[in-house]
Symmetry: C2
Subunit: 229 residues, 2 copies
DNA sequence: TAACTTCGTGATAGGTTCTCACGCATGAAG
DNA sequence: CTTCATGCGTGAGAACCTATCACGAAGTTA
């Protein structure tokens, strides 16, 4: 994760680099991505605007760095939640993950929006970021896999199952992740995102629906389909 | 819908107003909301930048107008899909709605993002827009209601059901919409949005998952829960 | 015909990102 | 210990943006 700080210069450079990202994140937290201004960051750090360009080639590069960091932070949050619930029943562990996912998103809505919201056309995550988001998926799959347990998979393979099998193989998950777990893992994610996304968009608030109840309902639907209590 | 054009002046004004929105939509379609420039719109229409301010008080007002129109367009698309499938089995009608929902979103991703993506903090839809999005919900509820049919609802009312009952009553849907339909309607929406949102974010593409298969799986999950085939 | 309303224009203020040439200070090599 | 190169920050400036303002030219009504 952290390379050797090597020379003193690099250490300082890394320090200001982190400080820039900290300020950028704070700006985004109140005001959205549009409120990010390299000029303002420079001023807040006590230096001029153009100085930032010594550290980031462009405004978009700053955003991209935040995205990559964000993926890692989300995965870390999920791992921590899974670790905290490791002694509880598998079904409860899945529920804890669902709640943790929403909590993380709600705590920093604009960052979540940068990760899973609309992107400028043509934008594609760097491989580094794709790998990071993959970590979240692994956590989910482990938890759901524990619920499924050793039950044999009676589901007749449909189109989706076949694609998922290919997908899992290509990803190196290997055949030890059974099809049902795979399917439920992906669906759990899209369902969680559906609720969280609409909550952050303010639609659920407009309708006066409680997002937590929806999250719980969706978690329960996944657990039930996995054969859990 | 359309008021009387009254005087000739108003007719012309409405015409340029529409033209502005057309150009705005085109700009957003390629480049996202950040690419919207009133200056550029004016230039494209053969007039100066500030002239636009005779029609919209601010840049955000243009975006807001697009949002309101967008809600209506989505509802219209769903209604049209429902009408086209009116002679088919109820389960098929729900499926048609799911596909239509995704099709509409994919056809104009940035507009969809403006409707259901992250908003600038503090932003809240005008009542007009909330009413418009409500229309989409009604279409969904009708289709799902047809699948549920006259089956009695055996579901033990949980938290979510109780909240939905209050919600439905407050909305004037009346008690004729049964709890199960209500619940499935909301869940159908969040599930569809989950898949579509991740697709538009490019996450599914990164993972090489086919969104259509996911949509079908989710529609089937709703239909199954409704008791349909 | 005269008065009034509406529309579009150019100028302008203040903001942004981003490039550039310059000077300073730090760390490294001889 | 001295010299030199590298990296860092600055201010000026180009090109863009939103938004406001005073002004003149239309079209509309009395």
């Amino acid at each position: 994760m952290s390379d050797a700080p090597a020379t003193r210069r690099e250490r300082l450079r890394l320090q200001t680099l982190e400080e820039i990202k900290r300020h950028a994140l704070a700006q985004i937290a109140e005001g959205g991505t549009g409120a990010l201004s390299l000029n303002a960051i420079g001023k807040a750090m006590g230096m001029s605007g153009p100085a930032i360009y010594r550290y980031f080639p462009s405004r978009d590069a700053v955003l991209e760095a935040l995205v990559t960091d964000g993926y890692a932070a989300l995965t870390a949050a999920l791992e921590s939640a899974a670790a905290a619930a490791t002694r509880r029943a598998p079904a409860r562990r899945v529920e804890a993950l669902g709640v943790a996912y929403r909590d993380w998103a709600v705590a920093q809505p604009h960052l979540y929006g940068m990760l899973f919201g609309l992107r400028p056309t043509g934008y594609r995550d760097p491989d580094e970021a794709i790998a990071a988001v993959n970590g979240s998926m692994v956590v989910l799959l482990q938890a759901i896999g524990a619920v499924v347990g050793d039950r044999e998979a009676p589901a007749p393979a449909d189109h989706l199952d076949r694609e998922l099998a290919r997908w899992s193989a290509a990803r190196g998950y290997g055949p030890e992740v059974d099809p049902r777990t795979l399917r439920l893992g992906v669906l759990a994610w899209t369902r969680l995102h559906g609720v969280v996304g609409l909550e952050l968009a303010g639609v659920l608030a407009d309708m006066e629906l409680d997002p937590v109840l929806l999250i719980e309902a969706e978690v329960r639907s996944i657990v039930a389909a996995a054969g859990g209590s």
